[in-house]
Symmetry: C2
Subunit: 143 residues, 2 copies
DNA sequence: GCCTTTTATGAGATTGAGTCTCAAAATCAA
DNA sequence: TTGATTTTGAGACTCAATCTCATAAAAGGC
């Protein structure tokens, strides 16, 4: 048994969930992708060999793999776009509360400086960066 | 005329676009939002006084305001979720080249440390952060 | 094996933010 | 005022993601 399989099996056991056939197929398919993948692509890959695994089961299994610490979505966004005006408004970064959706604004100068250093190290010219920090705000922590 | 109006009018002129009634109404509504707003909320706000401004026009005007440098969407990343496996992989940043799509992976330790400091300052518990840096890679710069 | 209870599944319907279509309306320069 | 051109409103459409529910698979006791 590969070690990532063990991680998943242990996670399932801890949560009283079953290692079913579809879950096993999905796990293998995920670990064949050594790149970033979207779920539609994963669905197509799985379907080549396993015509009976449904889209719903894939969508249900992905969060389990995330929770198990096996995969993550490094580009995760919010489900809808939110805007703010920037004219006459200092640049800042956003701490988004995943419980109440509140946004805390914080200075971004240090981050920008650090990113500039990192970019220089890789001879990369930054055009823009998107940073979303999600977590729990003070108020929600105290509930 | 407020200065943000001037910015928008100049932008429209430069691009041979017209300052129409709906565009003007939308601009005012946007600048009444001193918070982050989503378009559905903006639509409802506008609808209170202007029942005839359509959702489509709002969706069409927002990118103009972005292009004019008046607003931005600081949280937008990609239109669909993408994943990568993290098990046995050190955490890293993504420098994505907008010319050739190459992804340069860089260490994220310093960024994490800095974010932790910022979060602590705001009594915020970080669950995850997502950072995507886009720009031009070394190779493409030399072309 | 068998029965029972619980959990998971597949297929397809539904959601909802965002986009597109197109006939009608508004704009503006001549 | 005219007429070419741009913009608009209404609603149809898209598509990733979620939900529903009847059926199927799993696990434990026997
Ligand atoms: Zn909160
Ligand atoms: Zn902000
Ligand atoms: Zn990566
Ligand atoms: Zn490049």
């Amino acid at each position: 048994m590969k070690s990532y399989e063990k991680v998943f099996v242990d996670f399932l056991k801890r949560n009283n969930l079953k290692l079913t056939h579809p879950r096993s197929i999905i796990l293998q398919a995920v670990f064949r992708n050594h790149d970033h993948f979207d779920i539609e692509t994963l669905y197509d890959q799985i379907r080549v060999e396993h015509k009976n695994v449904s889209r719903a089961t894939i969508y249900r299994t992905i969060p389990l793999l995330v929770e198990a610490g096996l995969i993550k979505n490094p580009l995760r966004q919010e489900s809808k776009d939110r805007y703010e005006y920037i004219y006459g408004h200092r640049d800042h970064l956003h701490l988004v509360c995943s419980k109440c959706s509140k946004i805390i604004e914080a200075g971004s100068k240090q981050i920008e400086k650090l990113l500039a250093e990192i970019a220089q190290k890789h001879d990369f010219r930054i055009e823009e960066y998107n940073l979303v920090v999600s977590g729990i705000c003070k108020k929600c922590l105290n509930k």
